[in-house]
């Protein structure tokens, strides 16, 4: 089934087309929601909500973006709303212990577990943009589509998110200056 046939079928409420869309995208969508919420139950519920919203709004899909990007946008919005309602904040106590355990300046923490553990400690917005870029492989234009912002904003937000990730990891360039900013991780955006 081509994308055009898929869209047409979904617009008609064709169950086979809806299922095909689900089959093609569910791993990415569920993975994204899991990384954003850090909660399998929440990801499970939000994935349902995202697909139902997509199926009910497929009539509004006008092809300005790819179907995948459009679906990402819906899923990200569902997760961001969920996280705002929960009022979650980074686990600073864990961040402190992570910093204390990091090697001294000059060594680099690059293991997957360390980096992904640090990712979990970030603000939702920082984690979201890093996940979209480095785990979902979206380019800046696609990220801008998903987050409904300008491409230039994507670049600056990624810079900020990378800096904050590095603050949590506790290593690298300009560390003394950046560490002073680390205490502001809980500031609401």
């Amino acid at each position: 089934m081509t994308d055009a046939e898929l869209i047409k079928g979904c617009k008609c409420g064709d169950r086979e087309a809806q299922h095909e869309l689900y089959v093609r995208t569910s791993e990415k969508i569920y993975r994204l929601l899991l990384r954003m919420t850090r909660n399998p139950d929440a990801a499970f519920d939000l994935a349902q909500d995202a697909y139902l919203r997509a199926f009910s709004r497929i009539g509004q899909f006008n092809g300005d973006s790819s179907l995948g990007t459009w679906l990402y946008r819906i899923a990200v919005n569902e997760a961001l709303q969920f996280m705002r309602r929960k009022g979650t904040r980074p686990l600073l106590s864990e961040a402190s212990s992570l910093e204390a355990s990091t090697p001294s300046e000059g060594e680099r923490i690059t293991t997957r577990m360390d980096v992904n553990a640090a990712l979990d400690l970030l603000e939702t917005s920082d984690r979201t943009i890093l996940v979209l870029r480095y785990q979902e492989g979206l380019d800046y234009r696609e990220i801008a589509d998903v987050l409904n912002c300008a491409a230039g904003t994507v670049a600056s937000r990624l810079n900020r998110a990378r800096d904050r990730l590095r603050q949590v990891l506790g290593g690298g360039y300009g560390i003394s200056e950046d560490m002073a900013e680390a205490r502001h991780l809980t500031d609401a955006e």
Binding site: R84, T111, N159
Partner: protein
Amino acid sequence: MNCLSARESLGAYLDGELPVEARATIESHLAECPTCASELEFMRSFTASLSESTAVQVPTQLWDEIERRLDGPVQREFTLRNRFLGVRRYALAASVLIAVGLGTWALFSLGSGASVARASTVDFSALLDALPKDSVAAFEEFLNRYNARPVLASEAKSSAPQLDFEIPAMLPGGFRLERAYTLRFGDETGAAARYSRNGEFLGAIFHRPVHREEFGTHKDYECVIGQHRGHAVAVGDWKLVHVTDASTCHCVLSKLDDRSELPEVLKAVAPRSMPQSDTKGHSSGH
């Protein structure tokens, strides 16, 4: 190019997002600056680690749940939407009655050997956010989210036998019942009713007491409405009042004055709720 400028562009350079000329400028700087070159390598290393994500197993029952919900509320969405298009004319009137029965579920035992339902919350945040802009649309969206099914008032009661509430044909103050609904959350059912009075709407919501209700950025506060003690969330002229007893949370969304008309409405929908109800076990999240 100085190090500060280079640092601002390193991420985009690493991501392949810089135009050709800018790439050349960065590369020229990196060739002469070991600090920035080291920074680039560090960035390359941890982003590579980020990219090495493990495969995720999508729960096998995810599609089943989506399909179950597709077979229920989404098909009715068009009926509800068309019905409410006519109702939009009344949206400018004073009170909007939003009756949403909320099926809620909680992680508590239902009895010896009983299965435990999935925990969740009742989420009013989107409804509250959208109230000032378009209360009918907010209600419509909320109903869609919680699997609303229009039914007779008697069926709304019988479908939620674990709850104790009333949906009278006429409320004090002259609000006439427009429509009753069942709602569903997971394994639990709730009920809802929509009333109108000369073009004004009022809503009632009945659900199992839950550990948390979500109000988003809106704050709730304790209040006393007539003989009932409860909580309320105010959004402009709107007020969502919650009165909870042992079995049921009774919610009324309206613009009614809480000293004159609202107490009588609460008594009508929660006639057996004890005076000065204890609100323990019913907290809000925001």
